[in-house]
Structure formats: C-alpha cells, structure tokens
Amino acid sequence: QTLRYANQGELKSLDPYTVNETTTHAHLGHPYEGLIRRGKNLEILPGLAEKWEVSADGLTWRFFLRKGVKFHGGEDFTADDVVFSADRSRAPGSNVQTRVPTGAKVVKIDDYTVDFQLPSPNPILHYQWDTWYIMSKKWAEANNSTQPTPANATTPTFASLNANGTGAFKVESHQPGVKTVFKVNENWWNKNPEHNLKEIIFTPIASDATRVAALLSGEVDVIEPVPIQDIQRVNASGNAQVLTGPELRTIFLGMDQARDELLESSVKGKNPFKDVRVRQAFYQAIDIETIKSRVMRGLSTPSPLMIAPELFPSTGFTRAKFDSAAAKKLLADAGYPDGFELGMDCPNDRYVNDGAICQAVVGMLARIGVKVNLNAQPKGQYFAKVLKPGGYKTSFYLLGWTPGTSDAHNVLFDIMGCRDNPASSRGESNVGGYCNKKLDALTDKILVEVDKAKRDAMIRGAFQLSIDDFAYIPLHQQALAWGVSKKVKLPQRADNAVNFQYAIKE
C-alpha cells in the first residue's frame, strides 16, 4: 500500500543531526532508529538496544545492542556505530548536541555492548534517545559524512541528501522541501511490522486550506495538522476523520520581570510586572474557558502547570480563577486603577491559532483597563526578537514549550531558572527573566535525585513556588489534530510525531 502524507512543515535535511525539529525527527524515524523507541503511548521501549543497565552510582549506563541488525546499505550494526553516532552528534554543526551529555564517555565493550560513562548521575539520560538516530560509521566514512554539515559549509554532505539507517523504511528519493518517498525495508530486523505499507510519499503543504482540500479530495491520506476550525468539516466529509489528542507542548504567557522599566509600556520608571499583584491580575483577567471554546474550538486542555499532565501529573494544582473584577481590584491595589499600556509579542504562525489567542488576550486585558499593543509576527521575526540572541526584547509574550527531555527539570531549568549567571545556560529561555533562588536550588537537587518519589515531590514544590509567584501564565496544552483518511488506521502519539510504523491502510 502507498500512503500519501502531507505536513505543514517540511523535511529539511536527511542528516539526523543538523535540524532539531519535531517534524524532521518524526520523518527521520522512518529510515533511522535510536537505541530506544517510544511506543504508541510514548512508553520507552527497546530499540536498537535490547536492554540497558545503570550502575549503582548512576554514572555508568551499559547498553546491550540488538544483534543481526543491518543498515539499509547492508552494513552490520555494531557498537562502533553507536560510538561513532555519539561523537558525530556532539560534533560542531550538530544541532542535537544535548542528546549525549558533553562530558560523557562512550566506550565500546564489545561489538554489541556499549558503556556510557557520565560525569554526574542522570536518570533521564535516554529519554530523548528515540530521536538520537544511529548512523552507520562505515557508510559515513565512505561518503565523507563523518561530520554534520556545518552551517557555513559550501557543499552539503552526502548524509543530508541520503539516509542509511536501520529503520522500517528506506529513503527512495528526496527533494528537500518538495517531496520525499520512503520504501518499505524488507530486511528490517523486526520481522513482524505492525504496518502494511509499501511506500510512503511525503509532501509538505504549508497552506492550511490546501492541505485540508487535499485530504478531502483524497489526494493524500494523512495530514498534520488539521486547522481546528476545519475539524468538523473533515469529520463530516465521510472519507476522512480527525484524530485529536492532547499535545505535550504547553502554551503560556510570559512577563518581563527583569528590567527596571518595561521596554514598551506607558509606565515609566518602574516595571509593573515586578509587582506580583499585577501578574496575578493578568492571570485572573484571562478567561481560559472562552479561549478554549471559541479560539481552540474545545481542542485544548487548560493547564495549571507549565508542563503537560502526560509528562508530570497536575493533580492538586488548579488554575487561579478567572475573575475580571478581582483582577481589576488587584491592579488598582498595585497602583494602576486605570490600567496601563504595554506591548505584546506574539508569533502568528507557530502554534495552533497563536495569533487569535493573543488577540483574545488583548481583548480580555482591555477589560481590566490594560491596553495591549499586539505585535503578532511570523515566527522568524518573533524568535529573533524575544529570545536571548535578540536580547529578550519583549515585555509580554506568548510562547510554547515542550521539554525536550520530556521531564520537568528541563522546564524548571530552562524557562524558570534565574538568568543571573552568564556562564551558565540556566534560564536561557526564561525570556521574562523570572528569578527565584529557592526554585533554582530545588532544580539543582532534582537533577541528581534518582528516587522517583522524592524527585516528584521536589518538582511539585518547585512548581508551587512558581505558581505562588505567578511567574508565568500557563494557558493550555494545544490539541493534536491529524487528518486521517478513513482507509488508514493510525495511532496518535502525544509528541506529535507522525510515524507510520503502526499505520494500516486498506
């Protein structure tokens, strides 16, 4: 069976280490495999490693590799390939350098055993390894691709136009950004594949309407994403349906709490966001349920936490209540009875209905007297402005975050950590510059704590700190929406990776 698939994003490179992006990783999951896999429910399953052991001190991880696995090119899969892949993924030009910690030593024990020796314990070492794809050392060497293509290269490496993995599908042809064809790998080590496909044809379709039209007219079998307003239409069409489910990304609002005066505000000489009452007022001004029902058409999960419940249970946490009157009062208490004016930055092509969410927020804040000048912009410009290289030039912004490690520590460290130590990478994505030393201290303990119960308790504590501070205004987890032809059966994974290993087409 041939399955045709269209995605909003494109497959930019076949080199698994140059682009760190969900869509690309998902696609490369067809020809490539990592040492572990994640199952239909994101559970960690053995991949190219059949099993693994962690030493008592947590510093050495031993992986036992699957035997008899061959790359598409015919090369045998051995420990050399793992060591090579570990080096290559940490080489300059790689964008997946965090997969294997910089200080870790990768040691080949024998052909089918590899040790990872860590400088400090890391219980979640392998969490992201489903997208740390193993490449063939021999093939890379033969094709002069032992390094990922650096950004300033003048010629691409062989590996960015060709793939040689161990996965269920081989790359038949690849035109970057236009079309990629995968053929089934008859020699896959897993002799009982769950799919029945012979071929996958992938085309990016950036325009929402066109993508939906292509699904409705039957020109493609699967699309991702379906614009939420079109879900009804697709379901009503009779030949396709929409798979929806919660995504792991949390959409939230951030406030600049670092500067002494906001960049874009009518308030001069002080920063209203330094006052927790203002932050709380903003929080309570937002009617998340209306956003859910109107903007997200019911397809979002309002979130009390800055992390998805799938990654860390939110039981016991609730969102502060929507209450305009209370918000107004808080503002007045803080010394802004007539509100104030400020600028807001927002991407308009990054998250589901991001522009519309921001507009809705603007409206809701207007009702408590805050006049927001919305600056909705394409993601390229948006990120250039608000992230660290742009100097965090924003006062109020909307962002989405999925912890790459699928673990709360990443959230606590990257977006809630203090930015005060320039040498450390802590808080690099903490655009608003929220800072709470107690939280930082907890975060550091969480990293090395191996006991799950203790660790979870610490995480809860840390989150509670941020909630008490109204550090952020978490909004929701947006929904996944995959448009799938009635002819296709496909499980949906919450990390939004569209992988056809489990797809059945009539």
Binding site: T290, G363, L374, N375, Q377, Q381
Partner: protein
C-alpha cells in the same frame, strides 16, 4: 482692425464643469454612474465608519470573544446585533468591514499618493532635464521593477522591524504598507510623466517661459506639471484598486496590517481560514465589499481615461 468680440462674462467654474464633456460622458454611461455611486457610498461608509458602525471593532475592550463566529442575522443562530455576523474574535463583521475599508483606503490612498509624488518628481526631472539625470533615474526604475510590491513589502517589513525593534506592528504596519506600495508603484508614474514631459518640454509654451527667464524648477512646476498630470489621475484610480488588493495579499502573507485592526484584506485573509469550515460569511462579505470597491474604482478609472482622452470623445 478685426472685430472685437462682444464682452462675455467669464463662466463660473461650476457652469464650465456642467458644460464639460466629462460630466456629460459620466451621465451618459449608466455603468459609470452606478460605479460612481458605489464608490461614493463606500467612501462615505469608510469616512463615517465611527458613526455608521454599531461597534468599534478596533477597540478590544468592546469585542467579546464569546460572541465569535456568530452567523449573519438571517441565519440560524444569527443575532440581530450582528447583521452580517461576527468573526473569530467576536467582532461585528459589518462594523469591521466599515472600519477595515477605511484602513484599506487610507493605506491604498496614501501608498498611491506616495508613489505618485515620487513618480511625478522623478519623472519630471528625468523628462525635463534629460541626459544623465534621465538615464540615471530610468536605471533606478529598472532596479525598482525587479522588486515587485510583494517582495518590497516583505523586505521593508523586515527592515522596519530590524531597525525599530521596539515598534509594535500596529504602529508600523501602516507605514510599512504605505512605503512598500509607494516604492513599488512609482515607476509607472515616473515613466508616464517622463514620456509626456519629453513631449511637453519641447513645446513652444515652455520655450516662451524660458524666454521670460524663469528658472527650470519653476517651469517644471508651473508649466510642465499641469500639462502632464492628466494621465496620472487615471493611473491613480486604477492603482488605488491595485493597492488595496496588494494590501490584502500582504495580509495573507502575514506582513499586512495587524489582526487587531483588520483592513478589508486582513478580514479576507482571516475569513479565508474559515472558508472550509462553513463559516462562509467571514470571507464573503469583506470579499464582496472589496470586489465592489475595486470594480467600481476600476470602472471609474476606465471612464476617466476615456473622458480625458480627447481622441475618444
């Protein structure tokens, strides 16, 4: 000596206009009259939108998200408050169209004016001075032509944000659009003006003015300009329509006006998203308004061109 013509009172401006062929040809063509009426109505609607519109769609405080996606009043689920329904933010579409048209017309109008002033100035200079100035200006025009409006807008938009990172979209978008439209449309004016200036500058009345010793800029301004400005009017009308469409297209590409202050084009590109989902009114009403505007302005432009062309009378 020859006869002295009997004294005649100079006819008033109005009576001259009344007797002119322009008015007559206007009254002769039904299509043109309808177009004129439509344009007039739309312009008035845009000009008086704050009084005509039941709500102010640009004020977020009066827009309720809960009102979003309400169909037109005559449909099931429609509400009388919102004659033409509401959009995804709960804006009254009727008000939004009125306000949006105002924005569109301002952007289109200012853009065209900018284009016309650049074009006229450069065209006059090129045509009147000739030689190297001419060659230079025409080369600039060539360079300009290689950047179509869309590319220019994309680039300028980027530049403006790069240069004024603090400025928010709402403040700059209008200028970006106006400048982009101005920069991409001026060539046409310059070429037209240059062409007629080349002819005009050799006419004897210019010689006569030079003989009186007037400096070149004055001659250009007082003598040449009034005589070459005619075709510009025609281009202006047609370009106005084009500019409004360009603005709509840029909104579609995400570099148009901010969604909080939607123009007609922004409304269409918002509505475009809901085309498949059955919320047809969001795209339909602004589109119809835009098409009516563009069509009518174009028809008026056509008529004007014919009316101003003495050979066609």
């Amino acid at each position: 000596m020859s006869m002295i013509p009997p004294p005649a009172a100079a006819p008033s401006r109005w009576s001259r206009f009344r007797d002119s062929d322009i008015l007559a040809s206007f009254l002769k063509s039904k299509v043109t009259m309808v177009a004129g009426l439509v344009v007039l109505l739309l312009f008035l609607g845009a000009a008086f939108s704050p009084w005509l519109a039941p709500t102010n769609p640009f004020d977020p405080a009066t827009v309720f998200l809960a009102d979003s996606m309400i169909p037109p009043a005559w449909q099931d689920g429609g509400e009388a408050r919102f004659i033409l329904g509401t959009d995804d933010q709960g804006r009254d579409l009727y008000s939004a169209i009125l306000y949006g048209m105002r924005v569109s017309l301002v952007v289109g109008g200012l853009g065209c004016l900018l284009a016309a002033s650049i074009g006229i100035t450069l065209g006059l200079l090129a045509g009147y001075l000739g030689g190297r100035t001419d060659a230079f200006i025409m080369r600039i025009a060539d360079v300009q032509l290689t950047f179509p409006a869309i590319l220019i807008a994309l680039l300028i938009d980027g530049v403006v944000r790069g240069v004024f990172p603090k400025a928010s979209r709402e403040d700059t978008a209008i200028y970006v659009l106006v400048i982009s439209i101005g920069l991409s449309f001026w060539v046409q004016y310059a070429r037209t003006i240059r062409g007629s200036t080349l002819i005009e500058r050799n006419k004897d009345y210019v010689m006569a003015a030079r003989l009186v010793g007037l400096p070149a800029p004055l001659i250009m301004l007082r003598h040449v300009l009034p005589n070459v400005i005619g075709p510009v009017l025609v281009i202006l009308t047609i370009n106005l329509a084009l500019a409004v469409i360009t603005e709509a297209t840029l909104s579609f590409l995400g570099v148009g006006l901010p969604a909080t202050q939607p123009s007609l084009g922004t409304l269409i590109s918002i509505g475009n998203k809901y085309l498949f989902s059955g919320d047809w009114w969001i795209v339909t009403f602004p589109s119809v308004t835009l098409a009516a505007l563009v069509l009518a302005v174009n028809l008026l432009g056509d008529w004007l061109r014919d009316a101003l062309n003495p050979r066609l009378r």
